[in-house]
Point group: C2
Chain length 394, copies 2
């Protein structure tokens, strides 16, 4: 498996998507309640085109809008003061959204809530052709455990979630590898299980014999930027200043310290881990991928497997500056949603496709995955994780 | 301890409360952000009188209200379209609330969300004189684990949360007693940890050596009423019909079956439990207390300790009709918020004070607790649990 670069062609996946429908066409009427509605709620609904229909009673309001995918759609009021309306077709998978009532941005009172974009807000699920891999099935299920612990490096109480595989409490002599898995910017330690459904993906992979059993640790990677990159409080003259390079040098140092000095030792002390570099992985999405890149390049004696989902890539030049990385790291996995790679290809630290190809040609085991017809959203990361997990600890 | 009835006098606790303040007085200006705000949010705020102040931008709105404690308070708009206003003083502890924007009832976008009143909605915490017992402290913490399992009795996937005490994963030879702890109507399996902070209460009690270590299982006790008590679908003529007695006969049979046939065996199979009647307790609040009453009276060979928080009581007559209950059950604990017992005393199945006193005089070990100056709300149940837990498995 080493030295094999799997670069998936976008064209091969076009059949999976259904979102290339002109939003001016008549709306198809087969709306069904979203799977992420609160118990007993009929709205929001989704149709076979992937349109989202919301409804809310607001008899005295002048204007109500659905705000999804950075577009606001006007709702229409009926004689009873109930507003209804729908969006253009959305990509498959999970999306954040909100309502706007006479200028107030609020969660839809009918949906479940998720932490993203720096707030707890509404989420909706567009059914996907491949949704079986993250469906809740009658298979053995692992546990998602909420842990509270004191961190010396931050001098504060912290919280993390830990997934333990289905047999963890049965095979009490067995020790397990560990993946440290980070959320994106504006999200927190709840993202990978709530939006990402990572526990269900693992349960399904394990039930099918497609992945090794391992522990997953999901902690909070939010970190203040170094003082020098932020305007001083009340200094309005600097409000428009942006750091010249993002992320700035040293940006992830705080979280790296907490990861190495608090999180990993706490997990090794409280779980039956295989506490060595061979059996430790780190991955993350977006900001979490950027943290993964920085922390694993700086600590090739700590982690063996590296996963970066929509968060940059690693070049041969990066590796040349990181002694031990090339020799010790067994996999560099990089993924993006196909819409993120549309012309011009995005990517911090250079073109991720070219970087990964060059890293492979330089002798490292790499895997590049593209999620078909998805953007910088959770469906890309669910699929990325689904491709990543079977390649760990083999 | 058997045969000791502890009936606390309300008068002894008046000093703890501060809510008897005339809401017409000038508002005290010492507002601070609520401990249940979303990260970085300045509102809602609470002052030393227990008033709640909310703020939301809604430039085009005609009317915005704060809806808390069954009272709606008008907010006032400033020149920038930001609405601000406050409530009368609230009782200590946790309260659900919502905003009303031009007739739309929505969650406050600044608060954390909790499942209660049949919806995920806003919650606020009024600091309490005794809040230390449920504070997050730097003590050893247990875990709250999310479990997914298939239930034969309902033919569906279900979810529960399980609290394991701090040393559970360290003392791997030790087996533990189990408390089955139920939420109230309109709530779900998330209530006791999110609103009730039961994990923190247990961690603190254990750290102080005041309670035995035990496992707590929090499952979903919501259950459809028997068909005969509900109007037929689309039969609008019967919408106003109410069952003559509530709860109706057989109301908890479905959940009792799931508890006995699915939940308890699943827990005993997956945790290191002491799987006998001596080491099994059941308790619940409101509807969960009513379920506890019915299920424990029908199964005195299954449970040893019974806790009913704001959900009725057990009379000597009930016990006479339940063979084995008097001999086998080691504690009947009943609690209410003091405001629930104000004249006339509420209580399903008769006066809870008189019932519990009579049960004690009939020879059972009982404990009656009254939470000072609280109503049918979470502060009553946190305090009830705090009094109940140290009396278990002694």
């Amino acid at each position: 498996m080493r030295n094999r670069l799997t670069y998936m062609l976008f064209a091969a996946f076009v059949f999976l998507g259904s979102s290339n429908i002109n939003s001016q066409n008549p709306v198809v009427g087969d709306f069904k309640p979203s799977s992420l509605n609160q118990p007993g709620k009929e709205y929001p609904q989704v149709n076979s085109e992937g349109r989202v229909r919301v409804q809310i009673s607001a008899p005295e309001a002048k204007m109500v809008q659905l705000d999804i995918g950075a577009v606001k759609y006007d709702l229409v009021k009926d004689a009873q003061g109930v507003w209804t309306g729908e969006s253009a077709p959305q990509d498959e998978g999970f999306h954040y959204y909100q309502l706007n009532i006479d200028g107030a941005s609020v969660p839809d009172p009918n949906s479940l809530y998720f932490y993203g974009a720096g707030r707890w807000g509404s989420g909706i699920e567009i059914p996907a052709g491949d949704e079986e891999f993250y469906a809740m099935k009658n298979v053995p299920h692992g546990q998602v455990r909420e842990l509270i612990y004191f961190s010396e490096s931050t001098q504060s109480m912290r919280r993390c979630f830990v997934y333990t595989p289905p047999q963890y409490d049965k095979n009490t002599e067995k020790r397990y590898p560990v993946l440290y898995l980070q959320h994106g910017g504006g999200e927190d330690e709840t993202g990978w299980s709530n939006q990402g459904r990572v526990n269900l993906i693992m349960d399904n992979l394990i039930a099918e014999g497609k992945a090794k059993e391992f522990i997953i640790v999901m902690d909070n990677g939010n970190w203040h930027m170094p003082e020098r990159t932020r305007p001083a409080p009340n200094d309005t003259t600097k409000q428009e200043e942006k750091p010249k390079a993002w992320p700035p040098e040293g940006w992830a140092d705080g979280f790296m310290k907490t990861m190495l000095e608090d999180i990993i030792p706490m997990i090794d002390a409280n779980f039956r881990t295989l506490a060595d570099q061979d059996h430790r992985a780190m991955a993350g999405l977006s900001m979490g991928g950027m943290e993964t890149r920085i922390i694993t390049l700086a600590n090739p004696d700590v982690f063996s497997y590296v996963g970066i989902f929509s968060g940059g890539s690693i070049s041969p030049d990066d590796v040349d500056k990181a002694p031990g990385f090339k020799e010790n790291v067994k996999l560099v996995f990089v993924s993006y949603g196909s819409r993120e790679l549309e012309n011009p290809r995005s990517g911090l630290w250079g073109d991720p496709v070219e970087n990964t190809k060059a890293l492979n040609e330089a002798g490292m085991n790499t895997h590049f995955y593209v999620s078909p017809l998805t953007a910088h959203e959770w469906q890309s990361w669910r699929r990325g994780f689904y491709q990543f997990a079977p390649r760990l600890f083999q």
